[in-house]
């Protein structure tokens, strides 16, 4: 039996969906969608479920994660019910539903919680540095660089890294497990052989690394009024994602090599990789800012606070990281130290809030959703054969 939550429509408003009740069920959105397919008909199905307040059905739906917000449905909706924005809001809603701590819901629905948590975690880092930082020496290395590792030894930072990683990993993985329960165990009539989870594992890895489904989305992207056939949205997203992952590997696994006092030649891998990552991040960020400010594409027309927090924090992290690098190699000790502290004050709350509880969790939910959808459809095929 289905449970109806009569307050769902008003609850979804907090997640950004404001217009969907205008829908008159013409089905234009589903038919125009380049990603909707047999078995995965959306967005109208999700609009219907949302209008009726069927939370359990929404909770077990994978469709929101299969949408990449090309915006075709919204721009052609005869009622301007913004189906694309509903899908976006449902991704936020699902992130909150998968999160068993309830924090995600707070962050999405309350500006005070979201901003408060950021400042609190930033203050925590500041306090740690105030009490535990190393000597702030103005003495430079032989090459004329700042002795950053004297101020903040990479070994100590790395310990912090790993504690944080354990924390993030625990919450993210438990939320993914929660997603698995909701999607694959409850509300599921299809019997799924365990074997399928392994045979489709490749889809998970592949989509995690490439977001290939995204590239298929019919993205009539315009930049400065010019139309593109391939999706620059996907390219920019991939550039940002790959840079981000690279950076994450550099600071988590190779921190001792990356955060060094030695000034390498410009062509050295340590610098080249760092430059690629910062370039990718900046390019992606400029694109995302442009999209949200110019509002040319449907995906940029409505910005939730969590969207801004995501790109602003990432931009601050990137810029401060770049500044740390240049202050260090040009021998400006105090600037380096302060900028380094600021860098971590942004980076830490960003990861702590965004990765398990907010927008960045999509890095896990999206590939998992594609993976689960593949497993389900493979299971259905097997069952229909038998």
């Amino acid at each position: 039996m289905s449970k109806v939550n009569t307050a769902l429509a008003s609850e979804l408003q907090y997640y950004g969906a404001k217009e969907f009740s205008a829908c008159y069920n013409c089905g234009n959105c589903t038919a125009i969608c380049s990603l909707a397919s047999e078995n995965n008909e959306f967005p109208r199905k999700m609009i219907r479920l949302s209008t009726l307040g069927l939370e359990n059905e929404i909770e077990s739906s994978l469709e929101p994660w299969l949408c990449y917000y090309c915006g075709e449905c919204s721009s052609t909706c005869p009622r301007q019910a913004e189906p694309g924005e509903l899908m976006m809001s449902l991704r936020r809603y699902l992130t909150a539903r998968y999160d068993w701590t309830g924090l995600s819901r707070r962050f999405y629905t309350s500006e005070i919680w979201e901003l408060g948590a950021i400042f609190l975690l930033a203050a925590f880092i500041l306090v740690l540095f105030i009490f535990f930082h190393g000597p702030m020496t103005t003495e430079l290395t032989a090459e004329g660089g700042v002795k950053l590792n004297t101020f903040a030894p990479w070994k100590t930072i790395e310990i912090g890294d790993w504690i944080m990683a354990a924390f993030l990993g625990f919450f993210l993985l438990s939320n993914i497990f929660n997603m698995y329960l909701k999607v694959m165990v409850r509300n599921n009539n299809v019997k799924i052989p365990i074997k399928l989870y392994f045979t489709t594992l490749w889809d998970l890895a592949f989509n995690f690394a490439t977001q290939w489904e995204f590239s298929k989305s019919d993205n009539k992207t315009k930049i400065a009024g010019k139309q593109f056939n391939i999706s620059p949205y996907w390219i920019m997203h991939w550039l940002l994602m790959s840079s981000y992952v690279l950076m994450l590997i550099l600071i988590m696994v190779f921190l001792g090599w990356f955060q060094t006092d030695i000034i390498y030649e410009w062509w050295h891998p340590q610098r080249i990789l760092g430059y690629y990552a910062t370039f990718g991040l900046m390019a992606g960020l400029i694109y995302f800012f442009y999209n949200r400010i110019k509002k040319e594409q449907e995906s940029g027309k409505h910005s939730h606070l969590s969207d801004w927090v995501f790109i602003v924090l990432l931009a601050l992290t990137t810029i401060s990281g770049i500044l740390v690098h240049f202050f260090r190699i040009y021998g400006l000790p105090y600037s380096t130290y302060y900028m380094y502290v600021f860098h971590l004050m942004v980076l830490f709350p960003m990861l702590m809030i965004e990765v398990p509880f907010s927008k960045w969790s999509h890095l896990a939910y999206r590939p998992f959703a594609i993976y689960f959808a593949k497993v389900k459809s493979a299971a259905e095929k097997m069952n229909s054969k038998n």
């Binding site: 008159y24 069920n25 013409c26 089905g27 234009n28 959105c29 589903t30 038919a31 125009i32 909707a36 397919s37 047999e38 008909e41 109208r44 199905k45 721009s75 052609t76 909706c77 005869p78 009622r79 301007q80």
Partner: protein, 430 residues
Amino acid sequence: MEQQNELSFDTLVIGGGIAGSEAAINLANLDYKVILVEKDLSLGGKMIHLSKVFPTLDCSACITTPKVSETIRHPNITIYTYSEVKNIVKVSDKKFTATLVKKPRYVNEDLCTGCQECEDKCPVVVKDQYQYDLVGRKAVYVPFSIANPRVVNIDIENCILCGICEKVCPVDAIDFTQEAVEIPLTVKSVIIATGFELFDPTQILRYGFGKFKNVVTAMQMERQLVPTRPYNSVLRPKDGKMPDNIAYILCTGSRDETVGNPICSQICCMYSVKQAQLLLGALPMADVSIYCMDIRAFGKGFCEFYQQSIGMGVEFHKGKVAKVTEKENGNLILRYENIENGKITEVEHDLVVLSIGVLPNPEAKLLFNSPVIESDEFNYIKQTDELVCPPQTNIEGVYVAGTSSGPMDIPDSILSAGAASACSANYIRN
């Protein structure tokens, strides 16, 4: 521009469609002197071009032409076709002034007999707007076979000024020296019957109208179903094949905020049902499918008419068509979500008819100088007192008839014209 002496009438009726003619006849029968100004070359408006009316399937032209003849022959009605009015000013109670602009036809209307000798010889061929671009016409032409007045007109935009028409005309009616004439006008009341415009489906790129030849508008289909039809059969434009699997896409440009027209056009469901029935008669082997969000059969006998079409074998599918793509052979693939089962469906048809909606005529507002005429949120002339006096506008003495105030079907247009003429008579008399 020539100036002429002032004309004076009781009522100015703007627009010579079915509503304007009806209003003019009503007033003229009450012995009011009426001036009827029609922008186009002939009276009859849109209705004279239609095949049948719904739900009775009476011949549309057979109802319109007698009415048009009656209008033209009425001693109390003075008609100006191919003319416009502008600068309407309310000077005082029961006194309006306006300027009548008579555009040049380059043909002396009093002399022309409509023999079409000139049309026969004219070397220029352009698209025929009265056949909705299905066939061609000459640069000097009688607008259409049942036009009234049935005189030729020179389309000066496309004319190459070869002078052949002038030479062959047996009555020397061709006159290239004609100029627009402005005539000052004084009247006691005004009736706006400027009608509606049809939605231009090139706005909806994904339906491919203008790009895919076998996507036509309902008005083009209507022309293929009338007795004076261009091909004397129903043919699809791309290759002249008789279609046998026809699709109608309803709500093309109606109930669609993306094209700025959120309201229902009120006639498309029924004219599509009507055309489907006529098609089953014209092409007995053909299948007709109608893709709709819902069928709004709200008038007297409409629902029965709709049921009748189901009985005749017309298929109705619930779901708005999102995309039309063309195959190499000219057939079209329609993609829609079947609302009955939630499945994305693609179907092939060999002819697609877009049931285009009704839009307000934007020119109606521009006729008035002072005071300005108000329009409603959908850009139709505003009915200020819809329940007590529906034809009433914001200017006392100015009344609205027919589709100038909103989408409506033919019987409603005639009703509203009756109301407008009654209000106008009442206003003049008191």
